[in-house]
Subunit: 463 residues, 2 copies
């Protein structure tokens, strides 16, 4: 039984925006406008004692005036008014609240933060914040982020949920996710974590069928014992990618002055993360790479990778990475595969892994190679390199890769490096569920993360 | 005294294209068309015994018919005709030749390759290839690449020269360079290296004032002793970034079946590379990251990095990377800097490195921070993080960073992560000489490479 229920916050039937005003630059108004633009279909109530109307909707002077039941109150008023507003929410039986206002513990106002936390608990309001961006759900179209649409794109609907204590890291990653093909399920940026913290959110996401991958940016962990408990359960159900800031003592000091979190000893954290089957990222880019592969890939049955390439050099670079990785191995093609390839490939193609199908390979040759290698019982994962700069590579290759991806029950990812023409083809691939990497290291690290998690689950299921 | 002179190939006053035909899909015609589109200003002579005219120019039946002196012959005819054509070039005293035709040692035709090499040497023709993309020079507008313009962008004029035995890796990197801000000086893809090899090219680039950075993709090294000699001299003059394929035994096998090169023992190669001050990349992405920083950065005086950020979390991630790097250290601000910052920054900004100037920082606050930290005598390099998703960051920040970069004699690089809005600002920064990285790891690895090379040069100069 979770100590708070996040459902009214994530799937509200009605939202009150406290602090919405006629000034379009005010935080409350930006949030209100974002709800309208996003097409939120529940009821929307602006609350402002000094306005009759906000954005063509009747404004209420307090939340108590709203006759309807309010599932979520978004609070964007000066810090010293928050206690009053929250009391009113309590009396109006509002189920959840996102306090976006800053000016609490992060600026030394610890007492004020304790006060609002006490109110929230007394009235059983699931309170997120204060000093946070709040919640986004691409399905219910809840969006409490006070970020203008022109600076940060909103992601499409997907199955990756992203949790970040830091607002800036959160919005940056959100922006990147918007440009990726895999989409987003939910986003949480929980700020000072006066009440709702990472444990509550992870507990919610564990049971959320719209979340298949959890991505986590952590600075500190507040409730260690509970975190360990939920982590142990969560990773048995879905992959969790984590970036923990404060690996070094300099980083730890920086964490403390950022969110007053205690970063703790990183080595201990990392050991614990790995034991529980977390996928540990060292960098925001890795966080994205790993999210991408988990979002679209099936679990590999083993560690043997086949490489198909239309550029010999790129095949060599990938082979080096695979052969020097901790867990992956280059596949050894079966005799049957070799026979098939000998029949279908031009005489000059050397039948080996990496399979260099040469610079004049177009869709037909890729299909023949993908068919033979995809069916090979000694191959667990396919790494397909497409250098679109070569004379043969054109949209027919993109099409064949997409077809094969749909038919295949093994992981298949693409490495493609280049500018305009290449980026257009890469986008097509990603929109059709094929993860594309522009760096061989990133691609192979991601395959390795996928394999490691598959092994972890195998072990967990055997127990 | 170099054994071959590449000047007639790189800066030809006249080019004969042997194999140019009226069929626009033929290799010779693509090359001819590329010369015309690129605006090559020297004389251009199509050679084709079966045509009167090619692309509105009088065609010659053989190179012997051309009355003018020919500096460069681009040869794109079937392999078995190359000996005849090359003999004619010799008799016509053609100074250099790029043999793009394939069908020599790489397909087992070793004898045919020996034959054309013998002819080239006998007539003192500086011959590149066969089986190569050849040469590009953004200033003389020489461009022997038979790659259609729509699939691969051509880079702008710059000071980075790129040498790649592999044609596919070469054209891929070329395409990426075209989308980067730093531009290209020269590109060489030398194929089978029957005569001209990497040593000849490096020797040319060492003396080339239009080349300030050399980027090298190597599979094997043919003339080890000469390579060591030129490497020893070259790195004392300009930075050399190298990616050597065949780090592992699987990679080595793959190299052999690609260009029949002997990859050799990678550990030995790497040790030698590092001893000679090469910057060693492990991946095509690293090759680009390193090229970017060397292309635009001054040499740092020390290893102390200051971080300015508008996102606390991103500052922590960067701090972790710096603190855990082999050579870099977080700078300790001087008392004077601290006093200045205390005066200019808002009260809530914690005066420390990383300097988190908060999510509402716009151009003004960045300028004040850049001024104070830029002048700090305890700071050798500036790492500026701009998260454009925050409310304060807008084009005024871009502008201030560009201004500071122009005035500062220390390295200054930017980390910026995001989609559309961010990418537009990043492009502006790069066009104005500020290297931008979308990954903290890439940024800090690049700063480290810059520092390592500066230290190498210091040691070399002391000797």
């Amino acid at each position: 039984m979770p100590r708070v229920d996040l459902t009214p916050m994530v799937k509200p039937r009605s939202v009150a925006i406290i602090g919405a005003s006629r000034n379009p630059n005010k935080v409350g108004s930006v949030i209100m406008q974002n709800y309208i633009s996003a097409g939120y279909e529940g009821k929307l109530y602006p609350v402002n004692p000094n306005a009759e109307e906000v954005l063509n909707r009747k404004a209420y002077s307090t939340v108590l005036e709203i006759k309807d039941a309010v599932d979520l109150a978004v609070i964007a008023v000066p810090a010293h008014i928050v206690p009053l507003v929250l009391e009113q929410c309590g009396k109006a039986r509002v189920k959840s609240a996102v306090v976006v206002s800053g000016g609490f513990a992060e600026t030394g106002e610890v007492k004020l933060q304790e006060k609002i936390t006490e109110i929230a608990k007394r009235y059983h309001i699931a309170m997120m914040g204060p000093n946070c961006l709040g919640v986004m759900d691409t399905r219910s179209k809840v969006d409490t982020l006070f970020l203008p649409m022109n600076k940060i794109s909103r992601p499409k609907v997907g199955f990756v949920s992203f949790v970040s204590q830091s607002g800036a890291v959160g919005s940056t990653v959100l922006d990147v996710i918007a440009s990726e093909g895999f989409g987003l399920s939910k986003f949480f940026s929980y700020g000072n974590a006066a009440y709702i913290d990472e444990v509550d959110i992870l507990e919610y996401l564990m049971h959320d069928e719209e979340t298949k991958v959890v991505v986590l940016y952590l600075e500190g962990i507040k409730r260690g014992k509970e975190f360990v408990e939920i982590a142990r359960k969560l990773t048995k159900i879905k992959p969790v990618v984590v970036l923990k800031a404060g690996r070094t003592s300099a980083g730890t000091t920086a964490v403390h002055s950022h969110t007053a979190s205690l970063a703790g000893n990183y080595a201990v954290h990392e050991a614990v993360f790995r034991q529980f089957g977390f996928t540990v990222a060292n960098d925001l880019s890795e966080l994205m790479y790993f999210a991408k592969i988990f979002a679209s890939e099936v679990r590999p049955k083993g560690n043997r990778v086949a490489v198909i390439t239309n550029g010999g050099g790129a095949g060599v670079v990938a082979t080096d990475e695979i052969a020097s990785s901790r867990y992956l191995r280059m596949a050894e093609f079966s005799e049957e595969t070799k026979r098939t390839l000998k029949k279908t490939m031009p005489a000059l193609v050397n039948i080996a892994n990496p399979l260099d199908i040469a610079g004049d390979a177009s869709g037909d040759r890729y299909r023949q190679a993908l068919d033979a290698v995809g069916n090979d019982k000694n191959t667990d994962m396919l790494l397909v390199i497409v250098l679109y700069q070569t004379p043969g590579a054109d949209p027919s290759v993109t099409n064949e890769v997409i077809q094969k991806k749909r038919a295949l029950s093994k992981p298949l990812i693409v490495i493609s490096i280049g500018a305009d023409y290449t980026l257009r083809q890469a986008k097509l691939l990603e929109e059709n569920g094929v993860p594309v990497y522009s760096s061989p290291i990133a691609a192979i690290d991601s395959l390795e993360a996928l394999f490691e998690y598959a092994e972890f689950k195998k072990r967990a299921e055997r127990r």
